[in-house]
């Protein structure tokens, strides 16, 4: 039980409660210190089951570690540090509390050794992350937070049904590698996939995350979708259906991202797109592919947080979030622009960035596994991402038509967090072999070969050429609009259905209540009739009648006495 004291989630959850009470420097020390203590715990943790608790006929394993869990935990702790640094002056204490609790629960998921523990932390993550959205405090955030929570609670129900079925069929709660070959396992897979932003529920990501505060979205971008990648990598490597789902996500993210006018929402679509690469890799399932998926998750947490920090900084200093309102911000925000560009190059897998050395393994795995058609689509996806986040985002926010806005750079702590992550993006790209040593499988692979670098530059820059030619000859008309997505079904039709149901069930309810109250009134009236003040059983007798009957009884008594005595 003493091992629980060294669970990496513990420092962060204790810190979350402390920051509710602390202010000033003490709060900053806790915000920055607890992720570092957690990181130390992660690297002190030995492999194997460190805590086992008997529960009914099973054994819960709330603390179990191996290379895969340590890798995810490491990037979660790094993210917690940078996220807390970025949010150091966040005045909404509830957001910081919820975000840190959320991080602790996601560490709970990656160190969970059985399905029940996974489920418990999974659901707690959903509640904590919803609170991060709610704590933005706007009416749109409340509505988006409710939609987010509904979708995730639905996913939780599906996951719980799957786990219950799995236990009923196999009698085991072990969380090990499986295939979706039975209904319960298919339900578990569906529950996990919902958190990746897989179709048809992809829209929850761009719908909810951008409504969080400037710092809230940074936290949200890192944990829910990546714990989902973690559980898929552990639970369903080689499930081929994931290849199709992942590829769909890649192109969904690109097309919707290119259509989008809200910069933060566009990054939401881009999360789905990137997680699509990871899901595809898990579907391929070879050692190289799993390495690719988890390396990509690691790199993605960093560069996506960097991009969201940069656009969050722009949102923080301008209060605006649409491309139609931006333009020319590089003049007064050069550092933010440079950090955003580094994030954009990383996500596009530019050579010598973290994205390049991570994604390269997935393409290599597709080639080696003879999934050539997947290779082509992954290459197309890479080119598409560059158009989206590599060019469109940067061009319309920092360059393009001058909006006349001259906002200052964000405060020092936000700039420091961005520079830290920008350095990591380039650092990982420059020394990939050190990064690869963290991965679950030891493989001999070198991404920085001349042929790979040249062809990668070609695919990206020629794709960029298509964008700039289009821009030059046709222009890129930005309009204040949204593009309908699957969420239309539940936001419009679902709403109509709920209203119709409420109205119809309302009249049915009224008539049932009327019938019941009629029956109840009749019963009460009946009782009242017999037992009420005027009822036959409760009637008061006149005194004269009492005297009369007493005399009669006495007379009978005298008569009996006279006759028989």
């Amino acid at each position: 039980m003493s091992s629980l004291l060294f669970h990496p989630a513990l420092p962060i959850i204790v810190g979350a409660f402390l920051i509710l009470r602390l202010t000033g420097t003490a709060r900053s020390v806790i915000l920055l210190g607890t992720p570092l203590v957690s990181l130390a715990f992660i690297w002190m943790t030995a492999d194997g089951v460190l805590l086992a608790i008997p529960y009914m006929e099973w054994t819960l394993e709330p603390f179990k570690a191996d290379k895969l869990s340590r890798l995810f935990a490491t990037v979660f702790a790094i993210m917690a540090f940078a996220g807390n640094l970025y949010a150091l002056k966040q005045e909404k204490v509830l957001e910081l509390f919820a975000a840190n609790v959320y991080i602790a629960f996601s560490l709970g998921v990656v160190f969970a050794g059985d399905l029940i523990t996974v489920f418990i932390f999974w659901e707690m993550m959903a509640l904590a992350s919803s609170t991060v959205i709610f704590s933005a405090g706007t009416s749109t955030a409340r509505a988006a937070g409710m939609r987010y929570m509904m979708v995730h609670l639905l996913g939780g129900v599906v996951l719980m049904a799957g786990i219950a079925g799995e236990v009923a069929v196999t009698g085991s709660i072990a969380f090990t590698s499986m295939l979706p070959d039975t209904l319960p396992r298919a339900l578990i897979l569906a529950g996990f996939l919902l958190n990746t932003g897989a179709p048809p529920f992809s829209a929850w990501v761009p719908d909810s995350y951008p409504e969080a505060s400037y710092s809230g979205m940074v936290f949200l971008s890192a944990f829910t979708t990546k714990t989902a990648v973690y559980v898929l990598a552990r639970g369903f490597p080689g499930a081929e259906i994931l290849i199709f789902i992942g590829l769909f996500m890649i192109f969904y993210g690109i097309i919707y991202g290119l259509c989008e006018n809200n910069a933060r929402k566009m990054l939401g679509y881009s999360i789905v797109n990137q997680v699509g690469f990871m899901v595809t890799a898990i579907g391929i399932g070879s050692a190289m592919a799993i390495n690719g998926a988890v390396a990509h998750a690691f790199a993605h947490i960093i560069y996506k947080a960097l991009l969201i920090m940069a656009t969050g900084s722009v949102f923080y200093v301008t209060g605006k979030r649409k491309f139609t309102e931006y333009g020319g911000l590089f003049r007064t925000m050069p550092l933010t622009a440079i950090c955003c560009i580094i994030g954009g190059l990383s996500i596009s897998a530019f050579p010598f960035t973290s994205g390049f050395v991570a994604k390269a393994m997935t393409s290599e795995a597709a080639y080696l596994g003879q999934y050539y058609w997947v290779w082509y689509l992954l290459a197309a996806g890479t080119a598409g991402v560059f158009l989206d986040v590599g060019i469109k985002l940067q061009y319309f926010v920092f360059f393009g038509k001058d909006s006349g806005l001259r906002p200052p750079e964000p405060p020092l702590h936000m700039r420091t967090a961005m520079v830290f992550f920008a350095v990591l993006c380039v650092g990982i790209g420059l020394v990939p072999q050190q990064f690869y040593q963290l991965l679950p499988y030891s493989l001999d692979y070198e991404p920085n070969t001349p042929d790979h670098i040249v062809t990668q530059f070609q695919i990206l820059l020629f794709s960029g050429a298509a964008f700039f030619l289009f821009l030059k000859y046709y222009g890129w008309k930005l309009v204040e609009s949204l593009t309908l997505d699957f969420d239309w079904f539940y936001r419009v039709w679902g709403h109509k259905l709920a209203v119709t149901f409420t109205e119809n069930s309302g009249s049915a309810r009224d008539s049932i209540i009327e019938d019941l109250s009629k029956g109840a009134n009749a019963t009460i009236d009946g009782i009242h009739h017999r037992h009420g003040p005027d009822g036959i059983l409760a009637r008061t007798m006149p005194t004269g009648r009492m005297v009369f009957w007493a005399i009669i009884m006495l007379a009978v008594y005298l008569l009996v006495d006279f006759v028989f005595m």
Partner: protein, 82 residues
Amino acid sequence: MSDQSNSHWLDDPGTPKRLWTIFIVVLVLLLIAELFVTHHHKGFMFNYGFSAWFGFLVGGVSILLSKGWKKILKRKDTYYDE
């Protein structure tokens, strides 16, 4: 915050033309560079120039697809507020 006086070398009218020239030179250099590298794998995707034309094609198709998709499903951004 709305001071438009800051001028920058990127605002120079000649800059777009210079950037285009540099960009085209880089693209040509990449095509030349591929002549001097050896591909580690075999297949259609590793033929000379494949990445260049494939990247350009994907870029164009993605833009057209997104424009078409938007044409069909575009709504006012206050659509859900009404």
